[in-house]
Subunit: 335 residues, 6 copies
Amino acid sequence: MSKTFNEIVLEHLDEAAKKVNLDPDCYVRMKQPERELKVSIPVRMDDGHVDVFTGYRVQHSTSRGPCKGGIRYHPDVTLDEVKALAMLMTWKCAVVNIPYGGAKGAVRCNPMEMSESELVRLTRRYTVMIMPIIGRQKDIPAPDVGTDEDTMGWMMDTVSMFQGQTVLDMVTGKPVSLGGSLGRREATGRGVMICTLEILKKFGKDISATTVAVQGFGNVGSVAADLLAEKGCKVVAVGDVTGGYYNPKGLDIKGMIEHATKHPFKLLEGYECNGTSRISNEELLTLDVDVLAPCALERQIVKRNAADVRAKFIVAGANGPVSRMAREYFRTKGL
Amino acid sequence: MSKTFNEIVLEHLDEAAKKVNLDPDCYVRMKQPERELKVSIPVRMDDGHVDVFTGYRVQHSTSRGPCKGGIRYHPDVTLDEVKALAMLMTWKCAVVNIPYGGAKGAVRCNPMEMSESELVRLTRRYTVMIMPIIGRQKDIPAPDVGTDEDTMGWMMDTVSMFQGQTVLDMVTGKPVSLGGSLGRREATGRGVMICTLEILKKFGKDISATTVAVQGFGNVGSVAADLLAEKGCKVVAVGDVTGGYYNPKGLDIKGMIEHATKHPFKLLEGYECNGTSRISNEELLTLDVDVLAPCALERQIVKRNAADVRAKFIVAGANGPVSRMAREYFRTKGL
Amino acid sequence: MSKTFNEIVLEHLDEAAKKVNLDPDCYVRMKQPERELKVSIPVRMDDGHVDVFTGYRVQHSTSRGPCKGGIRYHPDVTLDEVKALAMLMTWKCAVVNIPYGGAKGAVRCNPMEMSESELVRLTRRYTVMIMPIIGRQKDIPAPDVGTDEDTMGWMMDTVSMFQGQTVLDMVTGKPVSLGGSLGRREATGRGVMICTLEILKKFGKDISATTVAVQGFGNVGSVAADLLAEKGCKVVAVGDVTGGYYNPKGLDIKGMIEHATKHPFKLLEGYECNGTSRISNEELLTLDVDVLAPCALERQIVKRNAADVRAKFIVAGANGPVSRMAREYFRTKGL
Amino acid sequence: MSKTFNEIVLEHLDEAAKKVNLDPDCYVRMKQPERELKVSIPVRMDDGHVDVFTGYRVQHSTSRGPCKGGIRYHPDVTLDEVKALAMLMTWKCAVVNIPYGGAKGAVRCNPMEMSESELVRLTRRYTVMIMPIIGRQKDIPAPDVGTDEDTMGWMMDTVSMFQGQTVLDMVTGKPVSLGGSLGRREATGRGVMICTLEILKKFGKDISATTVAVQGFGNVGSVAADLLAEKGCKVVAVGDVTGGYYNPKGLDIKGMIEHATKHPFKLLEGYECNGTSRISNEELLTLDVDVLAPCALERQIVKRNAADVRAKFIVAGANGPVSRMAREYFRTKGL
Amino acid sequence: MSKTFNEIVLEHLDEAAKKVNLDPDCYVRMKQPERELKVSIPVRMDDGHVDVFTGYRVQHSTSRGPCKGGIRYHPDVTLDEVKALAMLMTWKCAVVNIPYGGAKGAVRCNPMEMSESELVRLTRRYTVMIMPIIGRQKDIPAPDVGTDEDTMGWMMDTVSMFQGQTVLDMVTGKPVSLGGSLGRREATGRGVMICTLEILKKFGKDISATTVAVQGFGNVGSVAADLLAEKGCKVVAVGDVTGGYYNPKGLDIKGMIEHATKHPFKLLEGYECNGTSRISNEELLTLDVDVLAPCALERQIVKRNAADVRAKFIVAGANGPVSRMAREYFRTKGL
Amino acid sequence: MSKTFNEIVLEHLDEAAKKVNLDPDCYVRMKQPERELKVSIPVRMDDGHVDVFTGYRVQHSTSRGPCKGGIRYHPDVTLDEVKALAMLMTWKCAVVNIPYGGAKGAVRCNPMEMSESELVRLTRRYTVMIMPIIGRQKDIPAPDVGTDEDTMGWMMDTVSMFQGQTVLDMVTGKPVSLGGSLGRREATGRGVMICTLEILKKFGKDISATTVAVQGFGNVGSVAADLLAEKGCKVVAVGDVTGGYYNPKGLDIKGMIEHATKHPFKLLEGYECNGTSRISNEELLTLDVDVLAPCALERQIVKRNAADVRAKFIVAGANGPVSRMAREYFRTKGL
């Protein structure tokens, strides 16, 4: 049976602990999260009946400061996955040396099949249930897969109503009009663009001669594709859950963004354009491009398909899209 | 594979829901606890190294008022069991119509192998970790298997120190000298005695001719045995984890209590007395007595041994000592 | 132009102040309430549009302790009326010497034309808006005209949710199942009955020969009528907003209560019975009975109709049903 | 009968709502303030007796963040006026896009006839009465007509004493020595100067050839006059409640400020200077100047006197000094 | 040099610790108070200038629960004395087994030379300064020498105003009209009477033949004298700071109380009555009476005058009126 | 008998008050601290027994904002000294015009003879005891003699644990990794260097020809010496509690720092170097150097040794190292 995501993340911890000769008293505390909270979220659905959803908030470590981490709405989300992502957040914060620890939250639901008012009620109730352990100096949520700045706005409004005052600092990633940060939405995608350009510079590549494939066309992927195209790269492929879109001469990213904006879930579904053909997401990952930017979910490039990847550079925009085995493989191959 | 405790408890819920034609919107909310909190509890052990224990606090329902429920220290405790016990607490409170909901807590540890100072550190840290969700109007812990009034005193002291004031109402079952209730320690055992006498009265039995076997010799069993003997019953058998003790002429309960008091874990280990022989706990349950009072753990009389029980009356002092299958069996037999 | 209710109440204050030679520094503080809070209450109605209702909470005095006073839902409620009622509450509390001051709240709405879910949303939002100034040690609401124990339950639940804990003591008159007091619902009506019997005793009247007319058939009037009938009085007339019901041989009060219970707004509308005829509410007040118990709204017996009242005794179950001019008239007449 | 200030402001809202086709659910919420709090303020006067003053705090909207708005001490202040000003604050904050909503407070009193110690006691008690609804994240007062930085210092000190700690962020416009902002006192007057210069630039006017009349010589008017004179404008007229002062060759503003500073209420009363003659405030508004800067109270240029205004530009330093009718008139005239 | 009060109290502790073989870790913690807070209390006096008074609040022990102890206003009060009295309070609470620890407060001032308004301002400011460490679950003040129920009312009002709600439970000994306990004022004096009667009963003495001298005529002494006289004792002498009053046939206690009530400081000054002569306080202590009840201050019967005491029984109504040396002397003499 | 430190500081206050003609109402409030808190700190020592230490926190003034001041661990610390230092902090904050008042804390203990775990327990308990009066808006501790950034980290962690959240702003001088300020540790020493260079510039001295003696080699002295050497001065003498070190050609400051870093208490003990001889601390103060920088404790240059000081400039890095008499002496001498 294959390992769970958390088991894999723990292997990384073991590997690192061994390398830095980590104090056992410290190691044993880092192996598991400080708090795992699981909550029942009764929601009256639009048809009048009550559904009870399951929500999580896992806080891995508060040793370096308050926790920080996104909230995921996904039908297949598991506690195992949330624990793994919370631990990764601790490491991310530590690596960039900001005074925060790692957390992650999730609700097991399918936001694509729920109405906005159902999502509002779900989010408000979930917020109430985890309220005792979040806050500016405790744990600060943020958007993740399946949630966005509206979700954060609903969370902020719930906390503000409950406290009878405006509470801006209990969540990041909220709408700019409610005090969110300018540039926040594009930050991850912009990071992908900046890293890509830095790599090209380091290896003396010509930007305008560089071909790019981007997996994912949400907040991260669409911005990364857009900014890379603006900088002169030839973005030849992008994809989302509706499949991949390929144009060897470069895609019309701005047009694709405009198309997705009109789609109820901001998908590329139905996008057509001269010169642009459809490919599968699997094909996208193995295109013969200079740069492959996986900007969707974790564990896309794994042992199984690592050998097929033909891109010269992989720039990761998602959380852990390249598995440890795949990295091992690339390392062995001297890549 | 046998059912878990929680699965069995859920079967009871299903059965009851069907009988009262429970509103589905209500049923779906009662099926799972409102909150499950799992915490990591790092404790510096007396030898200097750090152990990380796992603790739980499960709140099943706050619909009728704050939660109420014990805290169990046991090496085999599972989340499944804690969830089942929390739900049972909701029902117990509702049945006696007090305005509380059900909760349960636990720490996976072996209190018999830990020093007092380790237990103090464990309890203080566990209290700190669950502090955001407990309190007078939220959830009020109490002692359970493996914890006692000292544990409650440590919890109360931890909360009092953190608040900088004396907080009496966050825990029940604390020492009388710290504001605990008189008679609290003996309450469950006294209840067993009262129920037994009421049953005997109803069925016109002579108290002095009644033989009793008590499983368990802790807070519940020893008090029940003692009070029943005081009232004139012939307590012919008692038992604890060290096995059963049998005297067809009636045991010297006061002497046995005195013996247990001196034992480090208040066990009967090593007790000897003329006329008293040793039996197994399994034998104790099937003795030919008038009253069998299981006062130890849950699920002692189950499908497997129900047919062997010879007692005329079973008076339950533990939480759920008779399984649903066993009850079904007795019902079928017209017992 | 006729005087407002508050102007009349202030005249009472002036009169009393003169009699007790009240210190002017004290008098000037008692003339107006300490705080008047007016709030906008946006409510999404069942048809989807938003209505904005106006709510009030007036606190007349906190000199003797926290405030206490009901919450009225009525389409014609005015700030003037709420201020008058708040001041009356101060005096009521002082007269019976309980350590509370007076307050009153209201929402301008017609609860008879709103669905329960609209009323729930209205009540929850109103509670949130006045939350900063209410609470166990500040000001404790209660039911009044147009609100009942359900309203109080919704208020209590709103505060409990906002605090994340069970808050019992922020409201009186809540359902018994949520911690309300036994006998609370019948208390005012029972008081009318007790006062009536005391008066009859004082004046040596025979209970069974006493005829009674009761104005109002809500929480106060129906209980008063029922208990007076139980004690042996002949209740010959009762009335509510649907008019009066008269039977010189005595009404079947229990039957009328049963009838009202089935009515959507608990009214007598459509009640019929052999020997019972319909009269107007105006006629009811001037019946030739021994006891007239006005148990509806304030200012029913006023200058205009005082001379027509034929009852020997008036026992007031409402707040201020007899105007100052009417009392003056009775006094002049030596009544 | 003429319209009230609030009625006029509501007409503006209607006009704007029509233009932007405002959602009715939104419009109905913006028409009235969220909260109106009216409080009684008993103050022991210097002669020993108690006066009870009436205070207000109206919060129009918290949709965009905490409320913000001044506190006015004036003998003629009305709730109508405070409501209008609170709504204007919501619009002002929204127009300059800062995350605040609008509020306004007032006490009906004549600060010019009260001693400082009476004002201190009045302010402290008023602060206590509105304390439950103000604060950094709720509603932040500021000075207005009749109040100044000292008033804000007393408010801040009251809140700080009550919390037992220094609370800087509950009020703006406090003394610089207590944490107030540098330049805050002069900000409005400086804005008048900047706007004037921008207008002159846009229309190609020569600054040194520009004549200016300033109505009001308080915090706004005196600073505006002073800075405009510094920049080279010829300030030919200023005025305060003691009337207008006119010098066609330009007034000695610095000298007038010096004079006013020595006056108990900082008025120009008694100011005399060669070449400077006295005019009425009404005359001041209709002087033949290039720029007229009304920096006193609202509604100075109205339908009645609009036709007489001869200034080429009106730069408003007060809140709403030009009425809607007057603006209508100017628009019609093509001005 | 003579020992300080605290040194003497510490000797008692040493003596007791030796007798019960007190654990040194415990002893060392009981030797000094947990917290000593000294505060400066600036008060604007009636003549306009500011005096700065010194206040104390000493908390000796919170081991058994919140602290409890009076507040003394006296011109000669010292920190040493306050520490001693705080420790005595710990012992008093422990001896009667109530779950409180000991505290004591004081302000160095002469309440007899201050106006009521000065005392109000002093008390309010003192309350504010010690507010962080007092409260229902922390430390609960009470009246003592120089303070009374009015002082407690001012303290309660200060805390209530600061919290914006009625706070009854932060002080005992407040006026009955503000929630104080019935019988509280007379409690200590009644205790003196009860103890006296119990002693007389034990030694078979005839009440009506018993002569009594009471030192002190404040809350304790006047009540003790009054109740003892009511029970039939012959109270032959009482005294206050104005000296002693002696009548071998029994004093008219009710008349003396009436006299004192009219005195500005409730003293006996100027009391005259046939048969009643004046004696010194020193003489009072050595009268040949059956019972001597010292109900004034600590350390009245000391080594110096112990041999002169002729009373058969001493019933102490003050805190520590008999010194350790005096008790030693009586013990040696076999008394 | 010589004056206490506080008496001397009060003399400075008197002198200053006279010069600025200070309002007596203000003066009388500045003469004594607002609050003096003395606490008992029981600590279980490593050998198992309990020691009770005495701690202080004195808050001199909150008139200009929250208090600010260090915490000193020293075996000889007295309340008198802590009061004096608290008052000096008020003046320091006022002189540099930051909105803070002065405070000081201390624990009477010898940190050099305690293990780290004992110090941790001492600091945690001391923090708990003073917690009610410290905090971001009340009083913010900092390191002083005998405490360092670790001590502040322990204090911050204690407060954070008690509040259940990360509390950064309750202490300054914490480790950079826990949110401390960059450059904080070196700030005082750097100030000494900057002042020295400014003086040299003003008097036209050549930096490279300037000789310097630094008393103290802790956080202040070692940094001052190091930076002055870096800037080109010839640092010929430094000293700490182990005595003075002298090299007329200039010391190797970096080498000395390296040596001290390895010493358990960061002392120079055992430092040896060619050309460097040992002198006494007394000799150090009287060396013939250009600049003498006393960077150790208060009152080093006093009446007794002032005449012997040969340095041309004294730059004070400690709190009050030059006594008032010494300054008087220098002034008289025209220095």
